[in-house]
Subunit: 339 residues, 4 copies
């Protein structure tokens, strides 16, 4: 159920509605919009009667939400959400580029990559300190030390940081050292982690699972919003199919599909989405063209020496060229790429 | 085996090499390039000895081809192939738009669509006269009558025609009435049909099967080339996956992958690739951005009345807007869209 | 629409109903059952009014068929279909084993395999004379010569023959020399071929395409039945997925799903379904356990020398062991394996 | 690296080898076998020199392990592992049936189901207290209260309990109240959870992720073993494909593939694997036939009232029939089903 308040409703009227919802045993989620506020109701197992709310003062209408997801739905919030990460706004008319190494390996490597992507025009820095790896014997990241290096890179470049968290403890650390929490594809349905991220004050970058449907991705986002954190950015990073010419099959048509069903911004990760350096540029351009709000790209000063995902990392020069291309194309699809 | 001739080799020297190959019981495929001619050798089950050929006069080198496909391979021909369909060139620096209704339903509907797509700047007209349909009880196309309508539409608009053939008989008819033969996704491994198309003088548009790997697509093209028809254009039209937000999953990363392995042009079909009208535009823009040589798009003057694939057909006005967008973006990716 | 005749309706009454259907411009398919005859109506685009038929004499009821497929549907025919191939009955309480080499390579190899599988208890012989191969440079089968070898093997062993046809011409030859026409997975949606097989007097073994849904498989069978050939046996042979531990993913749950929706028998091909010799036995046992009507298994006297699919062919001794296992298990699932 | 000790090596010799490994900075995993002990070495990034170990007294040989997984590999341990859960042994010649409701909903429902499955011959009881659900608004399980009900059901029936844990806290509770920890498909690559389970004394039932390759499943098991818990049972529960006739595509050919590569037992879950009650029986029989070590099946006294997965739950009577069938088939595949 979504309760749409009148344009000029008072704070008191809003509060009364919230209280009524709570008294009924449900949860109220006030969603301030540009012209009016709506209140999402969750927790009810069966449909509610609109009349229960439409008779309250200040309420314009009460609308049943037909999708299994509610707070992430366009039905509930028609305007695109804008998510602020430090000075960067995601989800508006800008096209945002996040770049950096797959993993934080050392201060030198991270600073070198950070300065290079900053010079090339990136808006944010990525880099993994906690790395979920298929093998227990692979490099698992530097952990806290990695976070400290990322924080240093932010001081040096001014770029906000996004980095992955993999459990309660690492969410706490990422909250402290970084600007945005990444939930990786393998954890897209780690609901305990999603709930923890939902209680964080930091915005969340939620990657689509390798075989997640769009509805499942949106439901995972709903877990985060339903805990009170509305600052979620979705990210397509390739799905698993029979196709063997790339590491994953990048599903770009999910971008307009997200735009139709949800108000949340959607990014594309052409690095994991293809797994092959030479395809990153073409697919990043395609991501811009298809309507994505940004890209997240792996850049490494020396990919051959990378401890993970070297073959898909761009060299700094390739990334700079790509940024130039994207900057030129952006206005043609109604976007801007200033920093 | 690929035999690369010297730049200034004579026709006689070339002929001697061809004869030697034939005498060994194999097939010779002379492939004239811009600066020199190469000869593909097929039919051998085991590797050949380069020395057998390198000692012939006029031969520069004999190179083992490591891929299962040969004639379609970049190893064999480094320059991009350019395929001429009437006045239209596919595979150069142009970006080619083929458009028209899914099926030819009537003279009126087809002419209306043809004039509309011509006005909007399309380079070629599409329309099915032989329709392979999942159900035997669905509209199967107008057959010969449909081809005659397409020929009429060409006379009215000057646009070359591409239309699907489904068996020997229809290949013969399509050759007679149209400019380019389409082999549909369901027939991508109908090898009898591929061989028949390989003996045609008309260029072929070969669509990727619903679960075909890139190698399988290239091998199917190889069937056509190995029969002597080198004018093949590949087409990505979406693959079948678990994803349910679109009819198929459009695999745009296959475009740079084709470019790397083969000299053949590659198109994208965002209409079948998504199955949803509102996604056709974004994915067509993405196809241009990712490096495709063209798009093939369904346009219907009255989609709601269409006998097949109405929900994915653009209205003429939407198509005109899309063509404008593509025309503006093309120069930024090194393409032109004049007609 | 399905028109169910009364138990004791006369031939004349039946004929009157057929004529009425034809006069309305539709096609009538009388389907004799054990206790009564039904008539399937196809060709109508919109639902028919049951009253039109229920008032005719001899008609018990007229039932709208809700599935896109009609003649193959359980709604239309409730008893399991039994298909006779020479002395062999498929679809009853027997469990039928078809075995033999992937391809007919020589008289010696084929006779050796035929005698071996006969000795082991196989009911029918398989062997390809027309081989659809991914590469134009692979062995494509012996063609007519192969069919003659198969006919010879039948004379020597008494086993009925099933072999693949790939186009009109080969259907004609297979009809002449063999007992059952196989339509391969790659041709499951080659509708011209399906229609040709539908006009044949020979029963058809229709393999599921590599990414065909169950409905698509049933619709392809419907093409054959709608042309008048009701003797169709379906065959699951593995679908294409991301899983890489086997050549294909054998989808055994399709067996009970077919049983629910259709009266046609369903086979399983564990050889193509797994592509790995050592998995053929376990999956053949599973096919029996899950309710399949039979299996089709590749057996080669010398797999390492096979011209195609050697790694998935059983040695004659392995096949004999498997037949013994299946024979012991069959009674436990209500089947018999006598010959 | 795997170090195989001599048959009659002393505890002291073993200890010396372990110490040497630890001094080199690696981890030693002694793996006692029936006739001799082996020591797995993990933690090395580069291959080790066998000579370093083969010169130590008591060492028979040191073998490089070629697979990315080590401790789970057949190379490292040739005999099938046997996992004891209370009085039940998994992985020997027995075929083990775990059954019970999807979720623990109440004491009454759980006890009723527990008694019914016990009467039918089940060896263990399943039931979810912590339910990972796609939607945050779905029933999430009774938590600790559910575990207490399960413990009560064990007291009443004597059946050991397996139940899912979803995070550190719930692992601790499941360890306390139940006999075996289940890691669900969605958490197969929640590596923090795997490591926690690896430090548990309880055996673990690890379900294959929805799009996990066999190698990934084995690597996830490796996470558990590498922390010291060698009691892992794998479980196939269907993978995600395009096929739409069942909830998932049950990949039975993974069973012989696991048997080839690993010594760990493998179960099949035909309830989640198909999602449809009427398919559970056929696929459970197929699981036995294909070589699985057991099945885990959902049984609910009143499926229509179930809070989750009702449509795939068997009624107690159907389960009893199935157990009878399995009991009769088991000896034919070399298994026994006594309790």
């Amino acid at each position: 159920m979504l309760i749409v308040m009148e344009r000029d409703c008072s704070a008191e009227q809003l509060q009364k509605v919230v209280e009524k919802i709570q008294k009924m045993g449900f949860k109220a989620h006030p969603i301030p919009g540009e012209v009016r506020t709506a209140i999402g109701v969750t927790g009810n197992r069966t449909p509610l009667d609109p009349a229960e709310f439409e008779t309250l003062s200040g309420v314009e209408s009460a609308i049943a939400v037909t999708k299994p997801y509610k707070l992430v739905s366009r039905e509930v919030k028609q305007e695109d959400s804008r998510i602020c990460v430090g000075p960067v706004t995601i989800g508006g008319t800008g096209f945002v580029a996040i770049a950096g190494p797959c993993a934080v390996e050392s201060e030198k490597q991270t600073l070198e990559a950070a300065l290079a992507v900053k010079d090339a025009g990136a808006h944010m820095l990525r880099g993994g300190a906690f790395k979920p790896r298929t093998s227990p014997y692979s490099f698992q990241g530097l952990g806290l030390e990695g976070l400290k290096i990322l924080a240093l890179a932010r001081r040096e470049t001014g770029l906000p940081i996004v980095t992955e968290a993999v459990d309660d403890e690492s969410v706490g650390l990422v909250e402290e050292y970084a600007d945005m929490i990444q939930i990786g594809a393998r954890n897209m349905q780690n609901f305990q982690l999603l709930k923890r991220a939902g209680r964080s004050k930091r915005p969340v970058l939620l990657k689509r699972g390798m075989s997640a449907t769009l509805d499942e991705l949106l439901m995972s986002a709903e877990y985060i919003l339903s805990e009170g954190n509305y600052n979620v950015v979705l990210c397509e990073r390739g799905v698993r199919t029979f196709a063997d010419h790339a590491r994953n099959t990048l599903d770009l048509s999910v971008v307009p599909a997200v735009k139709k069903r949800s108000h949340l911004p959607i990014f594309v990760d052409p690095s994991h989405g293809t797994g092959i350096r030479e395809k990153v540029g073409p697919l990043a351009r395609a991501a811009l063209a298809v309507g994505a709000d940004g890209v997240i790209i792996e850049v490494h000063p020396d990919p051959d020496a990378a401890l993970s995902d070297g073959p898909q990392s761009l060299l700094p020069g390739m990334f700079a060229d790509l940024m130039r291309d994207l900057g030129r194309m952006a206005p043609l699809v109604g976007r801007a790429m200033e920093r």
